[in-house]
Symmetry: C2
Subunit: 484 residues, 2 copies
């Protein structure tokens, strides 16, 4: 691992962590964070030694507490800093003395409230000591695999006399989320937990004094548990660096960027939120295209795209087939795909002949429609789906399949997702699924598709948009590889 990457790795795989500003007071950020680490260590997820630092205590939560990092006898490779802003410079000097090279500064009260001078001072100290910094004024890092969790927002909140899961940590998975906005980051984790979308890492870098998207993308390109990188930004300061890094990374894994502040009103709002000049949206748009980044236009797209790209291969072209048991839903998907510029192609004579053969063999009912969309109707059963899917996988002129499997028809069985997964396993062709409904079985059915790495969506349009992301990533990637 190159030196620079080695240091970044400390943020996610530390051996010794100092919690500077650890607190004994329930609910305080320094208390919540320390607890996160202790709990993850007890669960066996975190392997690092934990060192609380606070001059006012000898012990916190059963751990020996140190006056300063310099007093810690063992080696420390990651500092989590949660002290009031004015104390941060001294703390960073101490970290430098201790030889720490990675620090997550959670503390707020810097450039975001106009305190530019203090931030510059901290920056100078860190540069002098060669310390890489995530923050300040962010939530820091959550790593589902290594147990690093600096998120100081308590998981539970009281409501109507009971504790409710308010700020959940998502399950282990293959998406890494980078967010410039802490609030949006928290909301995003909440969304992903509820939707069952697994996460590898979450990074909220706040004012991004040092470590930025480009650094993180380069690191994540080599991260085995990251299959798709999602970035929420309101501004990108060093566009050239971002593009250079993205171009390199998208050859290996997909990047989805959600950059809010696209309209005049939006960028006015973004400017007062982050004090960063949002820049012309068209420039951003062109730049993202050029470096192969898939852009999401809404929050929903952002996660939907991420889920598809983490689970399925990119498409080799724009020709899409729709396989459905609901005529209406098929029409909706056809509309959505065509609006997005994808082709709901007429199937080849050869393929049509194969479907006709299925009818002759009484596998498909006589009233099934095998134009594209292929409508198996309410009489659909699992075998019909399997046999139809085989035909579509074999057709080289079909580059992806939107599979609509409404669970309501009587013969649709709950093992459909695994049967489909068996068929598509041998092909390098993306499939996305859709079942409409929000009651028990519909949710369970979509979850089952997800568990077989077939991303499932609750509407034909959202499934179609997910396919669009797979097509776009395929196109961008081919272009980037071509110009090598």
């Amino acid at each position: 691992m190159p030196k620079n990457m080695e240091i970044l790795d400390k943020f996610f795989n530390p051996k010794g962590v100092a919690i500077i500003g650890a607190s004994a007071t329930e609910g305080k950020p320094g208390n919540v964070t320390l607890k996160n680490f202790i709990e993850n260590k007890e669960k066996g997820i975190l392997k690092a030694e934990i060192y609380p630092v606070n001059p006012k205590h000898k012990e916190i939560l059963g751990l020996k507490c140190y006056k300063s990092v310099t007093d810690i006898p063992g080696s420390v490779d990651l500092a989590v800093v949660i002290v009031p802003a004015p104390f941060v410079p001294q703390v960073m000097e101490d970290c430098g003395k201790k030889g720490i090279k990675a620090a997550i500064i959670i503390s707020a009260g810097f450039s975001e409230i106009g305190n530019v001078e203090l931030e510059n001072k901290v920056k100078e100290i860190c540069e002098r000591h060669g310390i890489r910094v995530i923050g300040p004024n962010g939530l820091g890092v959550f790593d589902a695999y290594t147990g690093v969790d600096t998120m100081f927002v308590p998981q539970y909140k009281e409501a109507e006399g009971k504790l409710m899961l308010a700020t959940p940590r998502p399950d282990k998975g293959y998406i890494t989320l980078i967010s410039q906005s802490g609030a949006f980051g928290v909301a995003a984790l909440d969304y992903m937990k509820g939707e069952g979308i697994g996460v590898s890492k979450f990074i909220s870098y706040g004012n991004k004094m040092d470590v930025d998207e480009a650094d993180l993308m380069e690191y994540l390109a080599k991260d085995p548990t990251t299959k798709a990188i999602l970035i929420y930004v309101e501004s990108i300061e060093n566009g050239r660096r971002f593009m250079k890094a993205a171009k390199k990374v998208v050859k290996e894994k997909p990047i989805v960027v959600f950059k809010a502040g696209r309209t005049e009103a939006g960028s006015r709002a973004a400017a007062s939120h982050t004090a960063a000049l949002a820049g012309s949206d068209r420039v951003y748009d062109a730049a993202f295209k050029q470096c192969g980044v898939v852009r999401a236009e809404t929050m929903e797209d952002f996660f939907d795209f991420g889920k598809a790209l983490a689970m399925q291969p990119p498409a080799k072209g724009r020709n899409i087939a729709i396989l459905t048991d609901g005529g209406g839903a098929g029409v909706m998907a056809a509309d959505a795909l065509e609006f997005l510029g994808l082709n709901v192609i007429q199937l080849s004579e050869e393929t049509l002949e194969k479907f006709e053969q299925l009818k002759k063999n009484k596998i498909l009912p006589p009233f099934a429609v095998y134009k594209n969309p292929i409508d198996l109707t309410g009489s659909a059963d699992t075998r019909m789906y399997v046999e139809s899917m085989k035909i579509l996988m074999e057709d080289e002129n079909v580059h992806g399949v939107v599979l609509i499997a409404l669970h309501h028809p009587p013969l649709i069985s709950f093992d459909l997702p695994e049967k489909i997964a068996e068929v598509i396993r041998n092909y390098d062709k993306p499939v996305v699924a859709c079942d409409v409904g929000e009651a028990e079985m519909s949710k369970a059915f979509r979850k089952k598709f997800d568990s077989h790495d077939i991303p499932a969506y609750p509407s034909p349009e959202r499934a179609s948009r997910a396919m669009y992301a797979l097509v776009k990533y395929g196109e961008y990637r081919r272009k980037v590889l071509e110009y090598e």
Copy 2:
């Protein structure tokens, strides 16, 4: 009630119902339907007498069974017909003799499979006897208030060794859904049940041999439990009649139409699905605008719009304010609103002065931003929301408010929805809400907003689109009233 409306009323408020084709075999449509009626009668929802009709049985499910409707001693005002297609003509003759004026024909096997002649024969018989028909080849009627439920799809389905809720009936509410596609209708009810969107009536008219959208809209205009009418269609045969009816109805209540088959691929798909010529989409678009119907472009919009229109008044103009505790989410809403052509206005001097006063009085923190979006930041509490909302309600230049209340900040309390509801109660100005997340508290928070008739959405963009529907309906309604 005019004669015509009186007959339509029998479909939803019958006094005597004949289930023609009632079956003793578990799971068969004639069995499921009969059970629905019996259960609803036992629950006290259904007031009508139930008469099973089947020449092969003397009793089904404990009820005396009749050879023919003509044998029923009591009066019957609604027939539910579930016999095989070839028997339908004779059954309708019998209904005519019995003096029945309303029939729901569930049976399939008519024009949808090319059996036009048989359908015409049934039509002739019904016209001769003055029987109004919903169907054939549809799911018929579900009424959450009166217990009419001809949906023959069983509610539960086996999966992994247990019964799962697969085709739920939604709760009582104020949306009535009309669907040309039965499959989409079932999926829609599933969605609404899970999302907690209440329903008044659901009508699936299949081949719409007789009763169509225009009839139903006119009837629903006077229905006290219908506050918004949602129509899913793939084709409208009599455009002029539709427009005339819609123009009249939208003065009293909103209509949302979701017409799939908008693109070439989509309308090709629709044509093979319903055997109906889809017609040019632009013509439809112009017609909907002219008669004041709000058009939904996706499934998600369809329900989101319906929920907003059933709960909130139309907006009096396009000027929208955003009130938020998350800067990023505020930016997303600003982008979405501006893309939709709404105005994220600069607030008036007077209003800005009022916000400044809140800061002076230490109700708002010094770092809150009261440009539009008004960003209360992560320090937001319930009082800040309440006081800010009062100011926005008083400002006549603000026509609607997108209220983003992420529940994660520590001081956001669970009674926020009711406190906001108290403030806005006295104003005729729409408010839509948003909280992002899919875990426990987020869902409960949105549900709480909904229960106070403030429609809540899981993303800033969806909340913004819901506001767009309220603006559009306001504009259309004013125009229709103007040209009276």
